[in-house]
């Protein structure tokens, strides 16, 4: 384990310190400072192109997979800067799981979808039990207990997304990142996923990007509002920044920033 000498408060699990992310010469977000509390659900909201998904993907080094993407600053997880050269991104992703915008089950059976991640992570216990408990936590067990050997694709979109959540839970991460997990789903599936998230909150820290402000209001304890503006030194394009972060109640009832007020009341975005 690589330790840095920086001290973070005990209940802060993840913290961004002066993070700027660029794609090639294009700067996506600039100077983000943000702390994520353990056991909280934190929503990242903001208009399109403000870099909230970029920030989310940077939290478990998914951005590594995008060519030309570079990050400046520190992302401290468990006292370690995950962008330190000595850090293995595979290990980071094992401890910080991710659920994507589009449901993306493996082209394997429902059972294998969950067993795959656990197995490669060196799981040696009772696999049947793990599959069942993961599916239960993701509120999918009752719907698919009789067809565990069917293809993951045989499920509906909402069920597939819950399967992806179950798959992420199965590797027992400390944090679960969700990138607009409900944007491809109908309202009923969305509601089920939100119920699942409330259940998961007991054991996991969740960070979710959402376009749906009602959803942020419903599920999250903390809300971070990202915005994009043109900087004078920039090349004319808009650059994202973290405008305001506070408890969800405060963000929606008494935001400090004028832009936050305008965004949540639907004036732009």
């Amino acid at each position: 384990m690589i330790k840095t000498n920086k001290k973070t408060p005990k209940n802060i699990i993840l913290s961004l310190e002066n993070v700027s992310i660029s794609y090639g010469t294009f700067e996506a977000v600039r100077n983000v400072f943000c702390n994520f509390k353990k056991g909280d659900i934190t929503s990242l909201i903001g208009p399109s192109g403000c870099g909230k998904s970029t920030v989310l993907r940077s939290l478990n080094r998914m951005n590594d997979l995008i060519p030309n993407c570079s990050l400046k600053g520190t992302v401290l997880f468990d006292g370690t800067n995950i962008y330190d050269k000595r850090v293995d991104p595979v290990e980071v992703r094992r401890r910080i799981g991710m659920v994507f915008q589009q449901p993306n089950p493996f082209p394997k059976s429902i059972y294998e979808n969950i067993a795959f991640g656990a197995r490669i992570n060196g799981f040696v216990g009772d696999m049947d039990e793990l599959v069942e408990s993961s599916l239960r936590k993701a509120a999918l067990w009752d719907e698919c207990k009789d067809k565990l050997n069917d293809s993951g694709y045989s499920l509906s979109g909402g069920q597939q997304q819950r399967l992806c959540i179950a798959r992420t839970i199965a590797i027992e991460p400390e944090i679960i990142l969700m990138d607009e997990p409900c944007s491809a789903l109908d309202p009923i599936s969305t509601l089920k996923i939100e119920e699942t998230m409330h259940e998961l909150k007991k054991n996991y820290t969740i960070i979710i990007v959402t376009h749906n402000m009602q959803q942020a209001l419903r599920v999250s304890d903390m809300t971070a509002f990202f915005n994009a503006i043109e900087y004078e030194d920039g090349d004319g394009g808009k650059v994202g920044y973290l405008a305001e972060v506070n408890t969800t109640k405060k963000i929606f009832n008494s935001p400090k920033e004028k832009t936050t007020q305008e965004y949540i009341s639907g004036k732009f975005g």
Binding site: M62, F106, I171
Partner: protein, 297 residues
């Protein structure tokens, strides 16, 4: 006022009919060679098929009326193609994996892609001459000169571009979401490729491999310089290091003989070769159709 009804004699309609018929005729002419070739070989060669054909050695031309069979050539083609596959499939699939999964589109991968395209266009005789210079004339393979092994190497050069290209393209068709899913649950790049992306692309890769084999199995020019020809049964492992017969070279040799018996044997061999290449091609189409069906699931 013009009538709304279709009028044949209108100049635009005459022109239209003319060009439609012209293109249909061209299409028919284009397919004619294949139809004639296949029927001609089926008639000429099909009538020569006997059980002995598959079991006997070919007789040296001239000494009697019976030409014998094509057993050594048939087995030789199988062996040489297998050797070519053993070399070309791992290297080709590995190269394709590098291009599709690891390379980031830099100068090196662009150079490889360009090189593969050039290699695909290299005349097959050049591959033969190259292996002749490298292996045969130098006796580098345990002192043997012309050999089945050298023949397989020459054919592997011809298979390589097809295998690399289809692997590359097959892997590129695998949606990125699937890679993210695997990496997102903490899989390494190696596990992701081996357990997730490769299995998803396996059928299109298999199609490419089969097409590569079909192309290599019918080549003559590279074998004349490398495997040469043999009249004798292949009896053991050691025969790999000596001259080896193949269907294509048998056809080349015997079609040029002045004797009728040998010519007939060449027709019979053509029949077997065309039939097997045709069926391998059809097999690859079935494989490809199967791929598309499973993708929609």
């Amino acid at each position: 006022m013009n009538s709304l009804y279709y009028q044949k004699r209108l100049s635009r309609n005459i022109g239209d009919t003319f060009f439609t018929s012209l293109s249909v005729i061209c299409a028919l002419i284009a397919i004619l060679p294949l139809i004639f070739l296949v029927t001609y070989i089926l008639i000429k060669g099909g009538s020569q098929i006997t059980p002995e054909l598959f079991t006997l050695e070919p007789n040296p031309p001239g000494d009697d009326l019976d030409a014998g069979g094509i057993n050594p050539a048939l087995i030789g083609t199988l062996i040489i193609t297998t050797i070519a596959s053993i070399i070309a499939i791992p290297v080709g699939v590995g190269g394709g994996i590098y291009l599709a999964e690891y390379s980031k589109g830099g100068a090196f991968s662009r150079f490889i892609r360009f090189g593969v395209n050039v290699l695909a266009g290299v005349p097959s005789i050049i591959a033969g001459v190259f292996i002749y210079a490298l292996i045969v004339s130098t006796k580098i393979l345990f002192g043997s000169m012309y050999s089945g092994l050298a023949g397989g190497m020459a054919l592997s050069i011809l298979m390589l571009p097809t295998v690399i290209k289809t692997t590359d393209e097959g892997l590129k068709l695998v949606p990125n979401e699937l890679r993210y899913a695997s990496l997102g649950v903490g899989a390494s790049m190696y596990t992701t490729i081996l357990k997730v992306t490769l299995p998803s692309a396996i059928r299109s890769i298999a199609t490419g491999v089969v097409l590569g084999i079909a192309r290599a199995a019918g080549e003559t020019a590279p074998l004349i310089f490398t495997a040469l020809f043999s009249y004798y049964y292949i009896t053991g492992f050691g025969d790999l290091f000596y001259e080896m017969g193949s269907l294509a070279v048998l056809i080349y040799n015997f079609a040029l003989e002045p004797y009728d018996a040998q010519n007939k044997l060449a027709w019979a061999a053509s029949f077997i070769l065309v039939l097997s290449i045709l069926s391998v091609n059809i097999f690859s189409r079935i494989l490809a159709a199967f791929t598309e069906k499973t993708k929609r699931v």
